[in-house]
C-alpha cells in the first residue's frame, strides 16, 4: 500500500517552480487547434437562426427559400421551435441551415421565413416593483438566525421580527444601503460549438468543452447510442468559465444533421448568439439594513434581495448572503424576477462575486457613516468570518495593506485630496471558496526504454493543465518535465472530472501523483534487488533511482526501466472526489484591495493599483497559478467597470450583444496588479486546492468600495459606468 504525500518545499525539484507552460509555443504561434479550427474533409458549415423576439409563439416556418439557396444542403427546424411552440427569450435558436460554405449558410438563414406571434415580455431584472405589478416574481427562499431562540409559545416569525427590531434599537450605528450587480455573459472568445461526424452508429465530436470526459454520454443519450459509441475531443478550448459543460442542443442537432447528410457538420454560434444564449451570470440587487456596535462590529443584518436567472426567476442564491462576514443575527429574504432572458449558467464561483458585491459594500458603507478606516471595520468583523480561518484573512489583510500601502493612501470616504476633477480612493473585500479536487484517473505508462507517457481525459481551460500534470509526474519520477509526455483532451482516455469549481489542478495532481507514486513503487521493488537495499530506502531524484542519502548507490533512470523487462509498466490510479487525502484539500481565503481614481466631471473610473493575496494550499506552478489570479482580477475589473447585459425594455432585446458594445477591460484599463501567493507552511501542508475561481470573487466589491471611498457616496449598481457615477453624484447633491 503506497502512502501518498507531497515532498517538502525544500526537497521539491519541479513542484513549486515557475515553469513555462508546455503548450505555450503552440498557443502563441497559432499551431494549437481549437474546435473552431477543425476543418474536416467534406464538412458542412451550419448557421442558426436566432429568435428575434423576447417572447413569442412560432406561427409557421417556411424553409423552402432557404433550401433553394445555392450551397445549402440541409435545413432543420429544431424540435422546440415547431409551429405552435412558445419561445421565451431572444436569441433562442430556431432553425439550423447546413451548407457548403459560411456565406451560403448565412444566406440560407436569411432566407428562412418565420411568422411569429409576439407575446408580452418582461426583461427588467432591477425594477422589482414593476416586476411584481407584472406578475413576474416568485419567492426564492430566505433564512433567519438569531442568537436568542424563540420560546415554545412564540410565533417564530413574530419573534424574529421583534428580536431583529430590538437588536437594531440596541445598535450604535445603523446602515441602510442599496447595492446591485447586473447580469454579465460568459462571452467565451471561442463560441460554443462543435464539429461532429456521424459514422455508421458512432460519433466523433470535436467539442469546445470544459467537460471532455462527461459529454460523451450526453451525445449518446440524445442520439440513442451508448457512451462507447462516442468520442469527444477537445485539445484546446477558447474560453470556458462555467458555460461549456454539455453538448448543448445545437451540438446534438449538428450530430443529427451529420447523420442525415453523411457529412461532418461544424456549427459554431455567432458572436451575438454566444452572448445571448450560451451563458450568463444572474443579476442581483439588495436592500440591506445592518446594525453595529461602537467598534463597528456588526451584530444584526436584515436584507431583501431580488434578481434573475432567466424565465425561471432565481437570481443570486441567498445562501451566501451576507458574504463571509456573517453576524450572529441575520435575516435574509430573496425574490426571483422572471425575465424573458436566456437561463443563467454557472459562472466562475457561482453566486459568490455577486454576494460579495451585495454585502461587503454594506460593511464599507458602515465604515463610511462611522468615519472609520474600512480596513479596521473589516478586521473587527473577522470574528464572524466564515469559509477560511479568520487568522488567514487577517494575515492576508496585513500582507495586502503593506503591498498597496494602505495606511499612507487611506483617507476617510470623500475626504481625499482633489487633483483637478480627479479624486482617488481605496477599497477592499475578502472571499472564500471550496476548490476541492475533482474525480480523476490517470493511466501512466513507463516504457522499458525509459519513456514516460500519461493519459487522462481532462482538459486545459487555460489553467496550464498539461504543465501541472508534467510537473507532478516529473517530480515524482525524479525526471525533468520534458522527459514525460502528457496526453489529455479525449473522452477515450481515463475519466477525469469537468473543469468547474476550481477542481482541475487538484484533480490531476491527485491522479498523476498517485499513478506516479504507484509506478515508482514497482520500479523501486525491482531496483532494490539490484542495489541490494530495501525498496523503502530508495528515492527517485535527478534522473536516478538511488539510495536515500547515498548517491553512489544508484541506477540511471533508463537503466532502472530496463528492469521492467519487455513490456511497459502500466498503472491506472484514481482519486474520487471528496475522499480525504493528504494530497488535496478545500476551503481557501483571499483578500483584495483596490486603489482607483475617479474623474468627478465625467464619471470615468481608472484603476491605479490592485492587490490580490490568495491562499490555495500547495502551489504546483506559481507562474500559471499567478496567471489565474491576474486573469480573475481583470475579469473582475471588467464586471466592476465595463461589462453588462443591456436589456431593452422597449423591444425585449439584448441590445449590446456584440463586442463593440459589450465592453470588456482592455490592456490599458487594468492599472498595476500585484499578486501575492499566500503559502505559509500551515496552508501548504494542506495540499493542493483550486484557485481558478476565488480571486474572481472580490474585485467588484473592492472596486465598488474604492469608488465610494473616492467619492464619499455609493454608486450602488455594478458596473460603475460614467452614467451611473454621474447619477450617483447627482443624487448625493440632491
Amino acid at each position: 500500500m503506497v502512502e501518498y504525500y507531497w515532498p517538502k518545499r525544500e526537497d521539491s525539484e519541479v513542484i513549486g517552480k515557475p515553469l513555462n507552460r508546455l503548450d505555450g509555443i503552440e498557443k502563441t504561434t497559432g499551431a494549437a487547434k481549437y474546435t473552431y479550427d477543425i476543418n474536416l474533409k467534406k464538412q458542412l458549415v451550419a448557421h442558426a437562426l436566432g429568435c428575434p423576439h423576447a417572447h413569442c409563439k412560432i406561427v409557421s416556418i417556411d424553409t423552402s427559400a432557404a433550401e433553394k439557396t445555392p450551397g445549402v444542403v440541409h435545413v432543420e427546424v429544431l424540435p422546440h421551435a415547431a409551429p405552435g411552440s412558445e419561445i421565451k427569450w431572444q436569441g433562442e435558436l430556431l432553425v439550423i441551415v447546413a451548407a457548403e460554405s459560411e456565406g451560403a449558410a448565412a444566406e440560407g438563414v436569411k432566407n428562412l421565413e418565420v411568422k411569429y406571434e409576439k407575446l408580452p415580455f418582461w426583461v427588467d431584472a432591477e425594477d422589482l416593483a414593476g416586476a411584481e405589478a407584472a406578475g413576474q416574481t416568485a419567492k426564492a427562499g430566505g433564512k433567519a438566525e438569531t442568537e436568542k431562540e424563540p420560546g415554545d409559545d412564540d410565533d417564530e416569525d413574530e419573534f424574529i421580527d421583534a428580536e431583529i427590531e430590538r437588536l437594531f434599537k440596541q445598535s450604535k450605528h445603523v446602515l441602510e444601503g442599496y447595492y446591485g450587480i447586473d447580469a454579465i455573459t460568459h462571452c467565451c472568445l471561442e463560441p460554443h460549438g462543435s464539429n461532429v461526424t456521424w459514422n455508421d452508429g458512432s460519433v466523433t465530436a470535436y467539442l469546445s468543452t470544459q467537460n471532455v470526459s462527461g459529454t460523451d454520454d450526453g451525445f449518446a443519450r440524445d442520439l440513442e447510442l451508448t457512451a462507447d459509441d462516442v468520442e469527444v475531443i477537445c485539445q484546446y478550448i477558447g474560453g470556458g468559465f462555467g458555460s461549456k459543460f454539455a453538448p448543448d442542443y445545437w451540438g446534438i442537432a449538428a450530430a443529427r444533421i451529420s447523420k442525415a447528410t453523411g457529412r461532418p457538420v461544424k456549427l459554431m454560434l455567432s458572436r451575438d448568439q454566444e452572448l445571448k444564449i450560451a451563458g450568463n451570470r444572474p443579476a442581483g440587487y439588495i436592500k440591506v439594513r445592518l446594525g453595529a456596535d461602537d467598534n463597528g462590529l456588526v451584530h444584526v443584518w436584515d436584507s431583501q434581495q431580488w434578481g434573475t436567472s432567466g424565465d425561471n426567476g432565481g437570481g443570486v442564491s441567498h445562501g451566501v448572503i451576507p458574504y463571509v462576514l456573517v453576524p450572529k443575527n441575520y435575516r435574509r429574504v430573496a425574490t426571483g424576477v422572471k425575465t424573458n432572458t436566456a437561463r443563467s449558467r454557472a459562472w466562475r464561483a457561482p453566486n459568490h462575486p455577486q454576494a460579495c458585491a451585495m454585502s461587503q459594500t454594506a460593511y464599507d458603507d458602515l465604515a463610511r457613516i462611522m468615519g472609520k478606516d474600512s480596513y479596521d471595520v473589516f478586521m473587527t468583523n473577522l470574528v464572524n468570518a466564515q469559509g477560511a480561518k479568520p487568522e488567514v484573512y487577517a494575515e492576508e489583510m496585513k500582507v495586502g495593506a503593506k503591498l498597496i500601502d494602505w495606511k499612507a493612501k487611506w483617507h476617510p470616504h470623500g475626504k481625499g485630496a482633489r487633483r483637478g476633477s480627479i479624486v482617488d480612493g481605496l477599497g477592499m473585500a475578502l472571499h472564500t471558496w471550496g476548490g476541492t479536487a475533482n474525480t480523476s484517473s490517470c493511466l501512466l505508462k513507463i516504457y522499458p526504454d525509459g519513456g514516460v507517457e500519461s493519459f487522462c481525459g481532462t482538459q486545459d481551460l487555460g489553467t496550464g493543465t498539461r504543465t501541472v500534470c508534467a510537473q507532478v509526474l516529473a517530480e515524482t519520477l525524479g525526471l525533468k518535465v520534458n522527459q514525460v509526455k502528457v496526453n489529455i483532451g479525449t473522452s477515450k482516455y481515463p475519466n477525469s472530472g469537468a473543469s468547474g469549481g476550481s477542481t482541475t489542478v487538484g484533480a490531476v495532481s491527485e491522479s498523476h501523483r498517485r499513478a506516479a507514486q504507484d509506478a515508482i513503487a514497482s520500479i523501486f521493488e525491482k531496483a532494490a534487488a539490484q542495489l541490494e537495499c530495501d525498496a523503502g530506502d530508495l528515492e527517485a531524484k535527478g534522473g536516478k533511482i538511488q539510495v536515500k542519502g547515498d548517491a553512489t548507490r544508484s541506477l540511471e533512470w533508463k537503466k532502472a526501466c530496463t528492469l521492467l523487462g519487455m513490456k511497459p509498466l502500466e498503472v491506472t490510479s484514481s482519486y474520487e472526489r471528496g475522499a480525504p487525502s493528504p494530497l488535496s484539500n478545500s476551503g481557501v481565503g483571499g483578500v483584495q484591495m483596490a486603489h482607483v481614481e475617479v474623474d468627478t466631471e465625467t464619471g470615468v473610473i481608472k484603476m491605479k493599483t490592485f492587490v490580490a493575496v490568495q491562499d490555495q494550499g500547495l502551489v504546483i506552478n506559481p507562474k500559471t497559478c499567478k496567471s489565474q489570479i491576474y486573469g480573475a482580477v481583470i475579469m473582475g475589473i471588467a464586471a466592476a467597470l465595463y461589462e453588462h447585459r443591456i436589456m431593452d425594455n422597449a423591444t425585449g432585446a439584448f441590445v449590446n450583444a456584440e463586442l463593440s458594445e459589450y465592453k470588456l477591460a482592455r490592456l490599458g484599463d487594468i492599472g498595476d496588479i500585484i499578486v501575492e501567493l499566500y503559502e505559509p507552511e500551515s496552508e501548504r501542508s494542506r495540499g493542493v486546492i483550486g484557485n481558478g475561481e476565488p480571486p474572481a470573487i472580490s474585485p467588484i466589491a473592492a472596486i465598488a468600495n474604492a469608488v465610494c471611498n473616492a467619492l464619499g457616496t455609493r454608486v450602488p449598481v455594478a458596473p460603475f459606468t460614467p452614467k451611473r457615477v454621474l447619477e450617483a453624484l447627482k443624487n448625493a447633491r440632491a
Binding site: 448565412a106 476633477s421 465625467t602 467597470l641 425594455n649 441590445v655 458594445e661 490599458g668 484599463d669
Partner: protein
C-alpha cells in the same frame, strides 16, 4: 453575407461610373472596418461593392497652394496621423489617437471615418436607421443616443471621430459625380444631414457620388479635441468635442465649437462659440461655454447623463485648444 459583384477601379471617374443611382444598390468599400461588419449582419446588402483602395489619387496627404492640406479619402488614419502636414492641426491628431486601436488606424480610412454609418444598436441589429420612427430609442435603451437634433425620427448619433475637428477647422469635402467631371466642394458641416425617412442616409452624398478628398484651410490659431471615453478600448466615446480658436492678445477673437457622438450629425454649437468669444480662455470661461453648449439639449429617457458629458467635452476641448490642462483624465 450576401454575395455581390465586385469592382476595383483605378481612377476616381471609373469609381463613380460604377456606382448605381439607387440607394443601397452599391456600397463603397475602403478599409472595411464599418461596412464589412454591417454586410455580415446583412444590415446592408449591396448588389455591388466598389473598392476604392486601388485609386491612387485618393491616397495621401499633400499641402495645398494656399498653405492648407488636402487629405485623400482613401488615406489610412495612421498615415494621416504620421503626416508632417497634419501636425499643425492637433484637433485631428488627438481625435485619431483617440481611436486607440492600431489595427483600426492602419485599416480604417479618413473618408471611411467620415462616411461611417450611424452609431445605433437598433440600426445595427436590423431595426432600420430610424428604428421604428425613433420610438425605440426614445422609450427604450437609448443611453448612447442623441441629446441634440433628436426631435425628428433620427435618434442615432454620428460616430465620426474626426468630423468635429474637421468642421471646427473649416474643412471642405471634395465630392465628385454623378456626372463625369462633376465636382463639388462642400463645407463639411453641410456634408452631414439628419435623415427624415429610411431611404435617406446620414450624408448629402447621392448614391452615385464619391467623397474623394478633404481640404483644410491653412492652420491658423489653436485647435483641440476631447473625447469622453469609458475605457481605453477602441469603443466609441460617450461624448466628444473639438474647438478651433483664434486667440489674439490673449483673447478669443473667433471660435468654432463642434460636438460629436451627441446628435445624428456632428453638432455645431454656435452658443458655445458665442460664449467664449471676446474672453480669455480659463477654466471658468471654458466651463461657461460648456454650459452654453448644452443649454438647449433634449435628452431622451435614458441619456440625461450625456448632457453633462457633452458640457465637459466642450470645456476640455476649449482648454486643450488653448494649451491648458483639462483637470481630468
Amino acid at each position: 453575407m450576401k454575395n455581390f459583384e465586385y469592382a476595383a477601379p483605378r481612377t476616381e471617374s471609373e469609381a463613380v461610373a460604377l456606382l448605381s443611382d439607387q440607394p443601397g444598390h452599391t456600397e463603397i468599400l475602403a478599409g472595411g472596418t464599418d461596412l464589412v461588419g454591417l454586410m455580415k449582419k446583412m444590415v446592408v446588402q449591396p448588389e455591388r461593392v466598389v473598392y476604392i483602395g486601388g485609386v491612387p489619387s485618393m491616397k495621401g496627404v499633400a499641402p495645398t497652394a494656399d498653405g492648407g492640406v488636402r487629405i485623400g479619402a482613401g488615406t489610412t488614419l495612421d498615415e494621416v496621423l504620421d503626416s508632417p502636414y497634419v501636425q499643425a492641426y492637433p484637433g485631428i491628431t488627438q481625435a485619431i489617437r483617440g481611436i486607440n486601436s492600431m489595427q483600426l488606424q492602419c485599416q480604417g480610412t479618413f473618408g471611411g471615418d467620415i462616411c461611417q454609418r450611424a452609431r445605433c444598436w437598433f440600426f445595427r441589429n436590423g431595426h432600420g436607421l430610424l428604428a421604428d420612427g425613433g420610438r425605440i430609442a426614445a422609450d427604450g435603451a437609448g443611453e448612447l443616443h442623441a441629446i441634440f437634433g433628436n426631435r425628428g425620427s433620427a435618434r442615432f448619433v454620428n460616430g465620426s471621430r474626426i468630423a468635429p475637428a474637421l468642421i471646427a477647422l473649416g474643412a471642405e469635402a471634395r465630392v465628385i459625380g454623378p456626372a463625369e467631371g462633376e465636382e463639388h466642394l462642400i463645407p463639411l458641416d453641410a456634408f452631414f444631414r439628419t435623415p427624415r425617412h429610411e431611404r435617406e442616409r446620414e450624408t448629402v452624398l447621392e448614391p452615385n457620388q464619391l467623397l474623394t478628398h478633404v481640404v483644410l484651410p491653412p492652420a491658423s490659431g489653436h485647435s483641440g479635441a476631447y473625447e469622453v471615453r469609458h475605457g481605453e478600448g477602441p469603443d466609441y466615446p460617450l461624448a466628444a468635442s473639438a474647438a478651433s480658436l483664434d486667440i489674439r492678445g490673449g483673447v478669443v477673437r473667433d471660435a468654432r465649437v463642434v460636438l460629436g457622438q451627441v446628435a445624428p450629425i456632428p453638432w455645431v454649437s454656435q452658443a458655445a462659440a458665442d460664449a467664449i468669444r471676446g474672453l480669455a480662455v480659463s477654466e471658468a470661461t471654458a466651463e461657461a461655454a460648456g454650459d452654453a453648449a448644452v443649454a438647449d439639449a433634449t435628452p431622451l429617457s435614458q441619456n440625461e447623463y450625456k448632457v453633462q458629458l457633452a458640457k465637459v467635452a466642450v470645456k476640455r476641448a476649449i482648454l486643450l485648444a488653448a494649451g491648458l490642462e483639462t483637470g481630468g483624465f
